[in-house]
């Protein structure tokens, strides 16, 4: 039972695919509410990813972070999110909508691929080749060309440094959101004390939040896995606007 379940998660290429499938399973539209509803499911999938390559886990965790924000806001609308956090929520909705468009279009492309092919005329010049060198073909140029070919050979899939940095910073974000939630609960407790009749629903809500906090711990375990990634080599050229404290960089480099 367990193994078939894992195989099922493993079949998700990336976080968008998983997220969209969770939303569609519940026949929901893509919006903040539906995202918050599937957050728990998503996180429990991520929890089971531990056996997968770090790079793949990292992709799932990055999206998990945004879902956590969405869920936090749905549980505690009073919670203060930074501008960047709010932006990342909007981004996720947008990305998921884009992903759905291309995935749906992909289904039709697959049908086309299964259909007839347009063939090209094969190259066939049965003439004897006339030796016509290119004057750039010197020993020196050929040697430098092969050096750059070798330099450009793809390396094994190594997690880009920017991704590791980003994932490590998510740990910070989770710590901070945990704090903010704890604080919110306290304030809303004191606000609510004295209101009779609402106690049971309130208690229920607190239970949900506590369960959610426990879930955050699980995500952190995934982050630890990623931050332990040893092969540090920048293969991405993307820039990243993520700002990170020197401590985290140091910590990441030491791991």
């Amino acid at each position: 039972m367990e193994s078939t379940y894992i195989a099922k998660i493993g079949s998700f290429e990336g976080p968008m695919e998983l997220l969209l499938s969770l939303i569609e399973k519940r026949k929901l539209f893509i919006n903040e509410i539906s995202l918050s509803e599937v957050t728990d499911d998503y996180l429990s999938h991520v929890r089971r990813l531990n056996d997968f390559p770090i790079a793949r886990i990292a992709n799932f965790i990055i999206v998990a972070a945004t879902l956590i924000l969405i869920k936090s806001r749905s549980l505690l609308p009073e919670i203060n999110l930074t501008e960047e956090e709010t932006e990342s929520i909007g981004d996720l909705e947008k990305r998921l909508s884009l992903y759905k468009i291309v995935r749906d279009a992909g289904v039709r492309l697959k049908e086309l691929l299964a259909g007839p092919t347009i063939w090209e005329r094969p190259y066939a010049r049965n003439k004897i080749p006339i030796f016509s060198p290119d004057e750039s073909f010197t020993v020196e140029n050929v040697h430098s060309a092969i050096q750059s070919v070798i330099a450009n050979l793809p390396k094994k899939e190594i997690l880009p440094k920017v991704t590791v940095k980003k994932v490590v910073s998510i740990e910070e974000m989770i710590n901070s959101i945990t704090e903010r939630i704890a604080k919110e609960i306290k304030t809303s407790f004191s606000k609510l004390s004295g209101h009779t009749g609402e106690a049971s629903t309130h208690e229920n809500k607190v239970n949900i939040i506590v369960g959610f906090l426990a879930m955050l711990e699980l995500v952190k375990q995934g982050i630890i896995l990623v931050s332990q990634e040893k092969h540090f080599e920048d293969i991405g050229i993307e820039t990243n606007r993520l700002s990170l404290g020197a401590d985290n960089l140091q910590q990441a480099a030491n791991n």
Partner: protein, 185 residues
């Protein structure tokens, strides 16, 4: 002038690979406007024929009518492996409908690093990388090979091409300002 499209057809027949309108204009010693007219006229003459013009960006080439596909497989004793897998299909779909598109944009939509799948598709000759006139990051676009595999003679023959492209563009304004942000996973 009357036989410009005749010469154009002969040139494309001999060339057997994609050629840009600019190159054609050079060879035929007419301007690009003349090439466009000749292409339009040839396209019309080829309608319902066994051969047709395939267009991709600025370039054109000749290919066979899709309805002959099965017979050709038999005569060439060749069958193409057109299976792309899910990651390939997703990526190809982005490249077709958003072309020219950067890796960052592809990563942004897919939520994963597309480095390997992009390389794989390039090795198969289904997409190609072209220099970005506005920046450092390369752009990806579909190849003739990809269009041929799908049996279409241009991207605009893809189902709902305009609608899909428009709906993707609706998000464009916002995603562009964030290039290099979240997507750079």
């Amino acid at each position: 002038m009357q036989n410009t499209d005749t010469i154009l057809e002969a040139l494309l027949f001999v060339k057997t690979e994609p050629i840009s309108r600019k190159k054609l204009a050079e060879f035929m010693k007419i301007d690009e406007n003349g090439i466009n007219k000749a292409l339009a006229s040839l396209k019309e003459k080829l309608s319902g024929r066994g051969v047709r013009i395939i267009e991709n960006g600025d370039s054109v080439m000749l290919g066979t009518a899709p309805e002959a596909s099965g017979f050709i497989e038999a005569i060439l004793k060749e069958e193409l492996n057109k299976d792309l897998g899910r990651a390939g299909l997703e990526t190809v779909s982005i490249v077709l409908f958003k072309s020219p598109v950067t890796k960052t944009e592809i990563d942004f939509i897919r939520g994963v690093n597309s480095q390997f799948i992009l390389r794989n598709l390039m090795v198969r000759g289904l997409i190609e990388r072209v220099p970005n006139p506005n920046g450092r990051s390369s752009l990806y676009q579909p190849t003739f090979e990809l269009l041929r595999y799908m049996g279409v003679s241009g991207v605009d023959e893809l189902p709902d091409y305009k609608a899909v492209r428009d709906s993707l563009d609706n998000f464009k304004a916002t995603t562009e300002s964030e290039e290099g942000g979240i997507g750079a996973a």
